[in-house]
Symmetry: C2
Subunit: 798 residues, 2 copies
């Protein structure tokens, strides 16, 4: 989409210089504001035209029965869909009775800017009514990172010629009419009119609406207050109905005169708290916002983001688009997580209702893997959300005849919502992904309080799942049968390699955790025999390998399956799942998304360098990348195996997924995992960043002599010819390490914290504050670049 | 159910000596009458109380959308459900204003008898009203085997004390209220009020209703006429409304006086023909029935059944229950098929709406395998029905990316209605089963006209499917991956052995058919290269075998899967599919129903005797028989491997499946395949009957010298100790062969036709009319009897 000439490439902003209604829905997603608790899509202030109106509160959803033409044991009965809550963004404008609507009159200029450092979405427009009256309009919008319940808008209208009689209607609107969605199963189901009115109120400049959902019984309260500044004769009046509360401000503006409105909005929701309690909550939030004031909110917003960027910024020299994209991505990741506070982090954040607003393994495997090293404070609350859903996961495992915990494939509140078990229930790797995220967070932060607490419980209960899910064969090998790995074009497989090596990591991390916190182990009835069995399984788990081809198998027998007929597949038959039956995809060698390749990224020590090269060469021609989760993983392995041009192409694809709307669904919200993938591709791909010793769950500093600095990371940086420089920061164990990579050498700078050891292309060096280290970048090994399936080479639309 | 003491064990009748409302629904199924075109459940004449009112016309169904919480490419969008059409059975009675309802007043006696030789369901009752008036009631009901649109009832009421004022209301009732069904997914969805009224008519003694279904646009017409015989003063009047037409006859009966009503009912339906055409059709049918008269219908009914029994009767000495059951089963099979005439033969016949009235592979693999040898004239029309659905099957294959034909897993009109693809779409063996049935029919009848025509088309298009479904591996073996065999507890498997050996049979039969009818091959564009490739695939198709265990594998890797925890499975956790998730069943060694064991029955030459014994011993402890299709196959292999006691136990289970309601769902209709299984267990199990040379599609007389009689069958009869004698007839190539088996010897008698060669326990003998052959039965080999899973030994409730 933003191949569109209206979008400028700037390092710290996303700027749209003119409005194109054809990409309105996409622009609403990329301009979405959020703090992880509350999200507002980038809808126009006046509400219409719109692609998809969207105001979301993390966790607010409606439930609905899941229909099955043929039901089966253990199928989830109830689905969940994130709903569009009461819209507090709406500020309508009438100029001499002409409604300000971009489809009418004449729009002389229109610009929107999302600034990644201020966290403010700004808009300016110059519009002339059909009758010739011109106004200049500006608005600034923020969703507060410092006050999680609060959003605010500063709205100004100025007469250009006149006198202009203007009416500004600032509203709260519930149950907005939503567009009907396509038949694509991946587009979220939309629930119409989900909110039942409970209370409406309007007085002076204050508005309030309280509603409740019908089935999930979640009460949603919204309140707004306003500061009105206008010329003499400015009047205002407030009124309310069940689904709308409205402050109408009228003024007559001489040319150059302005009417300015500051709107503070406060949201609250609960499935537990009473209506009076919730009413007080939003009024309290509103009072706090008023007290902070617009300028105070702006300042706090900037402060939060300054702190974030000081740890997280990435500099890319040689490609302005990727420079912009990586900051765009990090901004949205931070927005999505900043105040999520023990709620899920959905696959689309709070930017749209794609995937019904559900959270998947994307969160732990992609989003948290970036935030752990860039904004670690946001990570524990998300893992604590997972931990809070443990009772349901234990019950789900029991229902499935398994031990331990079986976390859901997709959910809002922790209950399984996946209605297609071959790609849901049996994608058990989500449990290892959660365990890995917990273990990674503990490694990177050293947060022993978390490790003793929710971390250990997550590790133990997931380890127990693997024990019950697999079995030892006659030769003593441990097999996990009938599961689906990351590649959704291969399901119900035996010994999915990714699942097995991630289970191994999970089992070892659990065993280490209980040995480190024996009192907590006792609380969970883990005895020595159990943890010994975990280690035994980890040692004996099957890792399928085809000796003839000398490649690992994605799952047992995968390499003997019939190859997909790529040459007979037309470009318009992608994504394949919309044009071929599952059974045909499942039984052939065709890979939707990195699976074995992902295993080589997440468990690098399971493979030799030669195996990685052969495996990558084998799977690359089979991988169609029908999932946005794929490009970043392929970028990393392409870089590791020396294919820097290919790595860069995949990096660009990951980076531009949403900005260029490569999958044609940015309208439904942003792909959080792909946004994270940009950082992964840069830091783990071109930067070659891996953990040093901590693979397979061992503490990072095991075996270290006391006087030796901790070895927390290894790097193998190499730049593609397109780049002259790449720099990124990593936060690890109270340190801030900066890696600044050029074509010939890389500099490691410790910005804060105790000295540490880095491993650079196999060479060890100690880095201390004020003692940066420069190390040469060795040349890339030379090998033929693998091909992709016909027509599936990495693409960016520019 | 009929463990119930109310049911007597008689050789030629099913007699219920008293009414128990607790088994009313089951009794309606076992007392159902049908001719394959029209079916009436054994509902009481007066309509209530009932278990499930049921009047069915083969093919009449309603369609409905199939819901998917997560849809996928190629999922069928529309389901089909057989509907309860206008009920022509109803004859209500009032005695002195008391409605005759068995729940009120006093029922002194009540008896119902289904006679397998007359094809008439008779009923007699002695009832006293709450006010003390007694009547004797008799009714006789038939669904005509000679006039397919016609059913008739002779109804008599006699006053015992009196005078009794009686009113008899003979009705046609559309849209009867149906009971709500349970949540068990196997119980058919019931569609309420499926019929929209188009015309109603009543005049003199004649009634008529015409309706049309809402979605499938099938027009259903029913007409009735009556002969009324009563004492002086008997009056009658007819009236009609949209959903009911009624003839009311009133009389006052002195003790001993009777009122007699003969009701002729004629049905017609069409999705094409106009209302006037259909009106004329049912009036014409009615005229023919009146002309034949009640006695004429009775006589024709007896004639049809005499003819059937002369070819089909089985005598069992030593077990009266099985004697009754095998005749009960054959009677229902014949009823289901007799006039099906290019319509499907549903899994429940026309005895209930279980499985939505759908036809499955059961028809070809079980029902037709019996009818081919007992009532071959009924077989070609059923296969011609399959052939008539070929255009849809070709289109379905194309949709799935395959060549040839992909017949549906479940259907009424030929369109796929299975909403769960792992146990539907990919159960491709149904295509081989259809091909095998066609090939078997040609073998048994020598019907070359069928072979050249629909037979060859069925064989060629199914052969083409296998070619496109599988692939050659690097070593030249042909594999079929991602399919589900008969065992529904193992899905999406590689090289399901049953599927592969049946595909081999299919491919060879197709190759033979095109070489025998080269002109027809040309019509279908089969060239020499294509049929050579079929033979090549047949020669190279994989047959999984575990060398270490020396057993065949149900599918590749099956024997390495985790064993099911049978000891940890409680008896009330069967059927397993209602208590365990599919994924767990699929990935473990647990077998719902004969699969490899069925392969040993249908493709006996694929296995040595030793392999059969080892395979049976291996799979028997894994097979839980959660499907009624299983017991008969296990009976056959138990007999073949020398376990005669076990064979007999399974025979009894198959035989009593419905009479004893072993699966607790006889209420939904009879299990046609299990009824067929009784004959299979007796003839193919205890009789050891197999085809001689025709396995793998070769013509039965290939290699025979011209003067030598055809070798059409081989037998290996052996009786269990429970039986003193078993005799059955086989029709093959214009012969009627009788096999009469005793404990020590067997007699082969040719009742009609040219001499033929039989092979008896490996010994060849020529049998001619009037020259029976007696041959000794060798002793059974001695080997330890295999065990079943805990609690899953064969059961009969008596």
């Amino acid at each position: 989409m933003i191949t569109h000439t209206n979008f400028a490439t700037e390092p710290w902003q996303l700027r749209e210089t003119a409005l194109d209604l054809d990409v309105l829905a996409q622009s609403e997603s990329v301009f979405a504001l959020s703090n992880g608790h509350l999200g507002w899509r980038g809808n126009l202030d006046e509400g219409e035209p719109h692609g998809l109106p969207g105001s979301y509160l993390n966790g607010v959803h409606e439930t609905h029965p899941l229909p099955y033409a043929e039901a089966g044991y253990g199928y989830p009965e109830s689905g969940q869909t994130a709903i569009n809550v009461t819209d507090g963004k709406i500020i309508r404008l009438l100029v001499d009775d002409h409604p300000f609507d971009l489809r009418y009159g004449e729009l002389t200029s229109h610009e929107r800017v999302l600034d990644f450092r201020t966290g403010v979405l700004s808009r300016s427009a110059h519009w002339t009514t059909p009758s010739g009256r011109s106004v200049r309009l500006t608005s600034h919008r923020l969703v507060s990172l410092s006050q999680r319940a609060v959003a605010a808008i500063a709205y100004t209208v100025e007469a250009v010629n006149g006198p202009a009689t203007v009416a500004v209607q600032s509203e709260l609107v519930a149950n907005e009419q939503l567009p009907t969605v396509s038949g694509d199963p991946r587009v979220a189901a939309v629930i119409d009119s989900p909110l039942r009115p409970e209370e409406h109120y309007a007085h002076d400049t204050r508005l309030r609406l309280i509603h409740c959902t019908g089935e999930s019984r979640q009460r949603v309260a919204v309140a707004a207050d306003h500061i009105v500044e206008g010329p003499e004769g400015t009047t205002y009046a407030a009124e309310s109905e069940p689904d709308v509360a409205r402050l109408t401000v009228t003024a007559t503006l001489a040319p150059g005169q302005q009417l300015r409105l500051v709107k503070f909005v406060s949201y609250g929701w609960s499935a537990e708290r009473s209506l009076p309690a919730l009413r007080d909550q939003v009024e309290g939030g509103l009072a706090a916002a008023r007290s902070t004031g617009w300028d105070g909110l702006l300042e706090a917003q900037r402060g939060c983001l300054d702190e974030f960027w000081s740890s997280a910024d990435v500099e890319v020299e040689g490609d302005e688009e990727v420079q912009q994209a990586v900051r765009f991505g990090l901004f949205h990741l931070f927005q999505a997580a900043a105040r999520a506070e023990r709620r899920a982090l959905p696959a689309k954040g709070l930017t749209g209702t794609g995937y019904d607003g559900h959270a998947f393994w994307d969160t732990e495997s992609f989003v948290l893997s970036v935030l752990t090293y860039t904004a670690p404070d946001t990570v524990a609350p998300v893992l604590e959300w997972r931990h809070s859903t443990l009772p349901g996961a234990l019950e789900r495992a029991r229902q499935l005849g398994l031990s331990g915990a079986a976390f859901p494939w997709r959910t809002i509140d922790g209950a399984e919502c996946s209605a297609y078990w071959p790609a849901g229930t049996v994608a058990f790797h989500v449990n290892a992904d959660i365990a890995a995220a917990a273990e990674r967070y503990v490694f990177a932060t050293g947060d022993q309080e978390f490790h003793r607490g929710p971390g250990l419980e997550l590790l133990v209960h997931t380890a127990r799942l693997w024990r019950s899910l697999g079995h030892f064969d006659a030769d003593g090998a441990f097999h996990i049968d009938g599961v689906t790995g990351p590649d959704e074009y291969s399901a119900i497989a035996r010994d999915n390699l990714y699942t097995n090596v991630m289970a191994r990591k999970n089992l070892l991390a659990a065993a280490d955790a209980v040995s480190r916190h024996p009192d907590r182990a006792q609380d969970l009835d883990v005895d020595a025999a159990e943890s010994a069995q975990w280690r035994e399984i980890a040692a004996r788990i099957a890792v399928p390998y085809n000796r003839r081809l000398q490649v690992h198998e994605q799952s047992a027998g995968f390499t003997e399956q019939e190859p997909w007929d790529f040459d007979g597949t037309a470009e318009d038959q992608y994504p394949l799942l919309l044009h071929f039956p599952y059974f045909d995809l499942y039984r052939k060698q065709v890979v939707k998304q990195a699976d074995l390749v992902l295993a080589m990224l997440t468990c690098p020590n399971e493979f030799t360098a030669e195996e990685k090269a052969r495996n990558f060469a084998y799977y690359e021609p089979l991988t169609v990348r029908d999932s946005s989760l794929s490009a970043s993983c392929q970028a990393v392995l392409a870089a590791e195996t020396g294919h820097l041009g290919l790595a860069w192409a995949y990096t660009r694809e990951a980076a531009l997924m949403d900005l260029d709307d490569l999958e044609h669904n940015t309208r439904d919200g942003l792909h959080m995992a792909s946004l994270a993938g940009t950082w992964i591709a840069l830091a783990q791909g071109l930067g070659g960043m891996r953990r040093h010793l901590a693979e397979a769950g061992r503490p990072a500093d095991e075996g270290r002599r006391a006087e030796e600095p901790e070895a927390l990371g290894r790097f193998a940086p190499r730049l593609p010819s397109a780049l002259s420089r790449l720099a990124f920061n990593v936060r690890v164990r109270d340190r801030r390490l900066r890696i600044d990579i050029g074509q010939a050498s890389a500099r490691y700078t410790l910005l804060a914290g105790a000295p540490l050891t880095v491993v650079h292309h196999g060479t060890t060096a100690v880095v201390a504050v004020d003692a940066p280290v420069d190390l040469p970048v060795p040349p890339s090994p030379d090998s033929p670049e693998p091909r992709q399936p016909k027509g599936r080479a990495p693409v960016t639309s520019r």
